[in-house]
């Protein structure tokens, strides 16, 4: 007897959770979204086409789950989780250094559409084409969202003017490699 292919879902949980935290800006809410995603993926696994990208399929379910819960929250409480997210946003220090926490905070100030676009393309390893399929929008729309996200982050993280300094060793090596 072969292993249940649904067990593969477990391998994608760290990435699903990271994506959910990026979308919601809140670990507790993110974990609820991931849990709902697991249940939906498990019970609807028959709809997954073997040989296609399981990770993309799971990310799509998670994304749909997030937007459904967001709409529900707005409808039931009149609250927008974007406001919740914004309350966590803090301007980075003016020392020109980028810290991971600052990057996460800056990310959370972006409109969710831009945030998901840059996370999918810039961090999760999806191509522009895959991200546009995943989000159900045109390729040009994804490219535009990523560009706007980069521009906004550049502004928030204040790296447009002056020397770019990084405190992170890995980032330093990247920057030095570019010089």
């Amino acid at each position: 007897m072969t292993d249940d292919p649904r067990k593969e879902i477990v391998h994608h949980l760290p990435a699903l959770r990271a994506f959910a935290i990026s979308l919601t800006g809140n670990r507790s809410v993110a974990d609820d979204v991931v849990q709902d995603t697991i249940v939906k993926a498990w019970t609807n696994f028959g709809q997954f086409q073997p040989g296609t990208n399981l990770r993309a399929w799971l990310f799509t379910i998670l994304r749909n789950t997030f937007y459904s819960s967001r709409r529900k929250m707005r409808h039931e409480t009149g609250e927008d989780c974007e406001k919740l997210i914004e309350s966590f946003a803090v301007k980075p220090d003016h020392d020109g250094h980028l810290q991971l926490q600052e990057v996460l905070r800056a990310l959370n100030t972006l409109p969710v559409e831009q945030r998901e676009a840059i996370i999918l393309v810039g961090a999760s390893g999806f191509s522009y084409e895959e991200a546009s399929d995943l989000c159900g929008v045109a390729l040009g729309t994804i490219k535009s969202r990523v560009n706007r996200a980069r521009a906004r982050l550049t502004e928030i993280l204040q790296i447009e003017d002056g020397p770019i300094e990084m405190t992170d060793a890995v980032t330093n090596s990247i920057v030095n490699g570019l010089r």
Partner: protein, 56 residues
């Protein structure tokens, strides 16, 4: 500043943004997965076994 210099600067800033987002995302990837996720999967499996048992 020439157009080339501006383009280089822009490319460098974009690379920095992407690399930092990747680092931030990777830091989230390193976090422990909550036990509740494994419990949910175990419950789904148990539920299925129970459903199969009843239908036989």
């Amino acid at each position: 500043m020439s157009n080339d210099q501006t383009d280089n600067r822009q490319d460098r800033v974009e690379t920095l943004i992407d690399e930092n987002i990747k680092l931030a995302f990777d830091s989230l990837l390193q976090e422990d997965i909550p036990e509740r996720f494994k419990i949910v999967i175990a419950m789904l499996e148990a539920q299925e076994s129970s459903d199969k048992g009843q239908s036989q």
